[in-house]
């Protein structure tokens, strides 16, 4: 095996892992606080990619499109939380079913609006070059995605450890009732968290579109990988999502090259092993799983 190829693949895996990390963070925080697995999260990712595509065509500037996409997806997130999930407050199973129904609406809606042929967003011009180190060259855009992922992890760490919002969310994950008793408007917190998660899905969808392309069925692919990440890392913890996403991104990318038929099976085996040894996931708080 040529080392330079391996290094490039590792970087590709890392970039993919970072996209998955941003996805899975939304999923895992929503679960930690609302107790709902948002099954529509993959669909939000995909719609985010398509929305970015439209904005790129409209404004031709990738960065404006990226910002607008985050805003649009965050608004969609607020609408979903306010008008659907909110009505089923305290009934988690119904809420999961609602998000499940949303998959069909969102993914078929995307097919309706944007058609079913695969599309892609071109890599933004500013990043259309390769970074060469020794005899290895990486596409700059992927390095950029990795950088965004790392910055995002730092921001999350800062938010969680140092700010009031972080404290409220940590408290909410631990004990929802107590949070309400302390006089915090947790309905607002729920909406905020869902909005945050949807915005993140939009961000990662838009960032991912130049790498992964946009195709029918990508919502399912992404959702499954995110679920695996969340299970491996532990529900409700973004640190777990970070480690899990890097693992899954690497295994998926390298597995596709070396064992194309069983790359999914390897990821799944990893998940089963983690669950058997530590049912709450690598970083999960002890749950009765």
């Amino acid at each position: 095996m040529d080392y330079s190829i391996l290094a490039v693949q590792l970087m590709t895996g890392l970039a993919y892992g970072m996209l998955l990390f941003m996805m899975a963070t939304g999923l895992t925080i929503i679960f930690g606080l609302l107790n709902v697995i948002n099954l529509a999260h993959g669909a939000l990712f995909m719609v985010g990619g398509y929305v970015a595509l439209t904005f790129v065509k409209e404004y031709t500037n990738f960065w404006i499109a990226l910002l607008l996409t985050i805003v649009v997806m965050a608004i969609i997130g607020v609408l979903i939380e306010r008008f659907l999930l909110n009505r089923m407050y305290g009934k988690e199973f119904e809420q999961v079913l609602l998000t499940f129904g949303l998959i069909f609406v969102l993914s078929d809606g995307a097919k309706w609006i944007w058609g079913s042929s695969p599309q892609a967003i071109p890599v933004p011009e500013a990043l259309r070059f390769a970074v060469t180190i020794g005899d290895i060259s990486f596409p700059a855009y992927r390095l950029f995605v990795v950088l965004i992922g790392c910055i995002f992890a730092l921001i999350l760490w800062y938010l969680e450890a140092k700010t009031r919002i972080g404290a409220i969310i940590r408290a909410g994950v631990d004990d929802r009732e107590m949070l309400g008793a302390l006089g915090i408007n947790f309905k607002l917190v729920f909406t905020g968290v869902f909005c945050f998660g949807a915005g993140l899905a939009g961000l990662s969808g838009a960032l991912g579109a130049p790498i992964l392309g946009l195709y029918v069925g990508m919502d399912g692919d992404i959702l499954i990988l995110s679920l695996v990440i969340v299970v491996i890392g532990g529900l409700g913890t973004w640190k777990g999502a970070f480690i899990g996403a890097i693992l899954v991104g690497m295994i998926d990318t390298l597995g596709r090259i070396w064992f194309p038929q069983i790359s999914m099976a390897i990821i799944f085996a990893l998940m089963v092993i983690v669950l058997l040894i530590k049912p709450s996931g690598l970083f999960g708080k002890e749950v009765k799983a």
């Binding site: 988690e92 199973f93 129904g101 998959i103």
Partner: protein
């Protein structure tokens, strides 16, 4: 229960007489409904009576369909052998995965079953010798020893009888001591543990039975459709089955078949007018969940009790409000 026996007999008679009024197309559709009903019944059984909500049940369905396709190509075309092998493969797979998965509950169970079925999908999708993305055709015909069963009428009656047998077996199981213990585990696992029941075993048995039955449905589907594609394993298929079970109401055994019938008829009817069936289905489904009335079976049951005025005499199984109440605590293991 005896009060409902005449009703059950009437329904069965109607099902047997249906070919008198149905068109050829209607018969094929109804035959498909029977096959799907067996599949959805197996899923509804673990949701409504064991509290296990799976989003990967198509794994067993598709695996059996593939078993029939592959074995008929390479080994033998004997119907008994093929169906038995398919059911055994599904049961074995359900037992092994169930042994690992049943430990978990609620959200974890849902995610892990979904991921598992997706793994099978990926393997079948990417392996050329297993048909790959194109799928496999099934070159075997149903033959129970007295001539091949083909054509609309024989198929209709064969699938109907298969469906009735499955329904009857599940009905017996639910009313057996083991079945009642399973319901107890769903209602209150800690209490059943305190009473000395090995709760995990009951869940595992239910899951294995359900997997075997889903496998049976998959084998029948292979014969019905003469073709197996990797999509029959994918989570979309599982999701459809879940929707059917919820539409029908999973807390009653007769809910899932009703759900399957509504789903398949609507799907065929609406698909002739528009390609946007998934959106319509999604919206309908969301609306149904938002009304919080449970499935069709819950509504029917309410009507039946009002009509007969027998509110109090219902058995414990029948008064379980909705499937949702049993699993609403999922994931909240604090």
């Amino acid at each position: 229960m005896n009060k409902q026996l005449p009703l059950a007999v009437i329904v069965v008679l109607i099902l047997f007489a249906l070919p008198l009024v149905l068109s050829n197309y209607g018969m094929r559709l109804t035959t498909e409904i029977y096959v799907m009903s067996i599949f959805v019944l197996s899923l509804g059984f673990i949701i409504g009576f064991a509290g296990l909500v799976s989003l990967g049940h198509a794994a067993f369905f598709g695996l059996s369909a593939y078993t029939v396709a592959l074995l008929s190509k390479h080994v033998s075309t004997n119907t008994y052998f093929l169906i038995l092998a398919a059911v055994l493969v599904a049961a074995l797979m359900a037992f092994i995965t169930g042994y690992l998965f049943v430990k978990t509950s609620g959200a974890y169970f849902l995610m892990i079953t979904m991921a598992f079925s997706q793994v099978l999908y990926a393997i079948f999708h990417q392996t050329r010798s297993l048909g790959g993305a194109d799928g496999l055709s099934v070159n075997a015909s149903l033959d129970l020893g007295f001539g091949a069963i083909r054509g609309t009428y024989p198929m209709y009656y064969f699938m109907l009888i298969c469906f009735l047998i499955c329904y009857f077996l599940l009905h017996r199981y639910i009313h057996s001591p083991a079945g009642k213990a399973t319901i107890g585990v769903k209602e209150n696992e800690d209490r059943m543990k305190a009473l000395g029941y090995k709760t995990r075993n009951y869940k595992l048995i239910a899951y294995t039975i359900s997997g075997a039955m889903a496998g049976f449905a998959g084998a029948l589907y292979a014969y019905f459709n003469h073709f197996v594609s990797p999509e029959s394993l994918a989570w979309h298929k599982s999701g459809e089955a879940l929707i059917m079970a919820i539409i029908g109401g999973a807390s009653f055994l007769y809910g899932p078949p009703i759900g399957a019938a509504i789903f398949v008829v609507l799907q065929n009817y609406i698909s002739t007018y528009t390609e946007r069936w998934p959106i319509i289905m999604g919206v309908l489904f969301i609306a149904l969940v938002l009304t919080r009335r449970g499935g069709v079976a819950d509504v029917l049951n309410l009507l039946w009790r009002k009509l007969t005025g027998a509110d109090r005499k219902e058995s414990a199984t029948e008064t379980t409000p909705t499937v949702q109440s049993g699993v609403s605590k999922e994931g909240s293991g604090e």
